[in-house]
Symmetry: C2
């Protein structure tokens, strides 16, 4: 169980991670402009453990998700206040603004920011192939040592089209308990606090479509891909 406290939000004028650019252009004679950000492409990996017949996911606290939920809770509270105190002006909801001085009771529980995801990572090492980067992520995040040659490419797509435009390539990795060389959990030096989670094969489809379980589309898509493409090899429950 994550414990999150001492939360403080500030505007961010200079970020090493988020660097907005603006592009001006003519599209079919119409002058347009668009604000965007550059990020690295990424890889994600559906990991299936053939010993325990479980999918291996990562679970982590995501500040951006947490802030999103915080703002929804705030809006809801202010709307409810508006209903009970009609006529009073409601607080403006223009972007987050909060400080350590605010009552901690306004913050949702840490679980509101925790998501289930595929093992994934950025393509930020130009000398390595996508398979080699995926292999490193499987090792660092989930503790399984599998050769890059065992990674099967599922497909690729644009993971963002509005802001970043970056591409993600998805792989499938079959592992066994014999490949497990560490507990995983990410690179503590990079501040990663990742929990490795097993989802049993027979629960996978229920897990995928249970909207109460916060997750990425990659989890849902890859579970269904497995169901459609690996089911002759492994049985998966389809009672959904």
């Amino acid at each position: 169980m994550e414990e999150i406290n001492n939360i403080e939000v500030v505007p961010c004028t200079e970020s090493n991670y988020l660097k907005p650019f603006r592009v001006h252009y003519n599209q079919n004679g119409t002058k347009k402009s668009w604000d965007f950000m550059r990020t690295h492409d990424s890889v994600s990996v559906l990991i299936f453990n053939t010993t325990s017949h479980c999918f291996i996911l990562v679970k982590q606290f995501r500040p951006a998700v947490y802030m999103c939920e915080w703002e929804k809770a705030k809006t809801k509270t202010s709307q409810e206040a508006e209903k009970t105190e009609e006529g009073e002006a409601s607080e403006s909801q223009e972007g987050p603004s909060a400080s350590a001085g605010e009552s901690p009771s306004q913050w949702p529980p840490a679980s509101a920011g925790v998501t289930y995801e595929l093992c994934a990572g950025l393509v930020d090492k130009p000398d390595l192939s996508l398979e080699e980067i995926a292999r490193q992520e499987v090792l660092e995040e989930c503790g399984y040592d599998v050769p890059a040659s065992k990674l099967k490419r599922i497909t690729s797509y644009r993971s963002g089209v509005g802001v970043t435009g970056s591409k993600q390539t998805m792989f499938y990795a079959e592992v066994s308990d014999d490949n497990c060389v560490s507990a995983g959990g990410g690179e503590p030096r990079e501040g990663e606090l990742i929990e490795v989670v097993k989802v049993p094969l027979h629960e996978a489809m229920t897990f995928a479509y249970d909207e109460r379980i916060p997750k990425t589309m990659g989890v849902i898509f890859s579970f269904i891909w497995f169901h459609n493409n690996m089911s002759p090899k492994y049985k998966i429950s389809t009672n959904v």
Copy 2:
């Protein structure tokens, strides 16, 4: 065919669309911080035309995707130049930088920025239900007028976990030629230049997994969802 020219990229110090924030917090006793941006949640809609047995997608020029491809082309060119002119220092690749003065030959064709996507839109009208927002997008972008009550919720997930944390809800809409009231194409006032595209049902799975066709994961996932859930009703080819 899109025509893109007069491209100019500038750093963006003040954006109405991209507003970075920084959150400082303690996670299990460790002091951390994260840069994020707030965006609205979104809806996306898989549209199936029961008259023509086609999926209805939107196709549009995405500046962020284009810039991503431009940078890849630039990196490749500079790496190739490095190979032929060994010893010379290569150009730094720290973020985009270009101006109208650069040779147009450096810019990839407009098609490099065009993607196929599900009909989608932002949840930015607090008075409307998700179904009503989805309904409006189907009408504006694709020209089909269907009642909100006919929209079937597929599922929801986090569309971004690193930067935005926002949630997307996916719907399924069955339409017929009788529901087609306009050509669609988006709101010209909002600068949208959207092309409505039909993908025949029997080509859908090939389309989904053809990596040469640039698309979002939502297209792939929803086509497979249809295959698994609507196939008793409509036949879909599975020769993949």
